[in-house]
């Protein structure tokens, strides 16, 4: 092996080692950050298509009526009341492969004439009626996730 080639090879080896060291230092820094060296909180969220890639339709009930999905078929907002297959030990609901649902029509909501407080009260009444049927309200995020991989919610117009 001539001198130039040996130099080149050593040079490559040195730069590979340097890259490795830099990568290791980066990893170390990241570990420090994640471990909270300064006791600072760290939160990272996976925003990929993971939600859509779920193989089961498991969800929790929407946290509040303001997050629930309402459908307007031309006669005012109606609560999308999803009928779960079963409630899991974790408290989540399994909606099954093709979630069943019903639209709650009672009491009817008139967006043009009802004031906001009345609309909210009526939405809560619709929720009570949904619960009486054994159903749950779901959030927009859960709806989008489930609608993307089943045809259960096709042709619904979301308010």
């Amino acid at each position: 092996m001539d001198k130039d080639k040996l130099f080149e090879q050593n040079n490559h080896s040195a730069s590979a080692q340097k890259m490795c060291q830099q990568s290791s230092a980066k990893k170390q820094k990241r570990r420090m950050l994640l471990k909270g060296g300064a006791a600072l909180p760290v939160v990272m969220t996976l925003y990929s298509g993971a939600a859509l890639a779920r193989t089961s339709n498991i969800t929790g009930e929407a946290a509040s009526i303001t997050e629930a999905v309402f459908v307007n078929m031309g006669n005012g907002p109606q609560l999308l009341c999803v009928l779960p297959k079963e409630k899991l030990d974790s408290g989540a609901y399994d909606l099954g492969d093709t979630p069943g649902y019903t639209l709650i029509t009672n009491p009817p909501i008139h967006p043009l004439t009802d004031d906001p407080a009345t609309i909210l009260a009526k939405k809560n009444e619709q929720l009570e009626n949904c619960h009486m049927l054994g159903g749950i309200m779901i959030s927009g995020a859960a709806f989008t996730s489930i609608a993307a991989k089943t045809s259960a919610f096709d042709n619904l117009m979301i308010l």
């Binding site: 471990k35 006791a39 909180p41 760290v42 498991i58 929790g60 959030s139 995020a141």
Partner: protein, 91 residues
């Protein structure tokens, strides 16, 4: 203003040597928490608390005196938690 956790019992939490993956079923999102973030969320799952109370608690946990910078960071994370639907303001 006081904060409290939102559907904490629904979260699926896995502990990876004091780092946590947290699956939030109602949004389908997965979060990564360090110990301090998990301490914050589990503290708020037990009772509502103000930002100052949370800072005091975390300072005691870590043995560090809270300063303005620390409190600002905690507040930012609280608003981030709120945006993710992990906590809510006490009504």
């Amino acid at each position: 203003m006081r904060w409290l956790s939102n559907n904490f019992r629904m979260l699926l939490v896995a502990n990876w040597n004091d780092e946590y993956t947290v699956f939030q079923p109602d949004s389908g999102k997965t979060h990564f928490f360090n110990q301090t973030s998990m301490d914050m969320l589990s503290f708020l799952s037990q009772r509502p608390a103000s930002t100052e109370e949370i800072c005091d608690y975390l300072s005691r946990q870590s043995g560090q005196a809270p300063d303005k910078n620390f409190q600002d960071n905690i507040e930012k994370i609280l608003y981030h938690f709120d945006a993710l639907g992990l906590i809510k303001k006490e009504s």
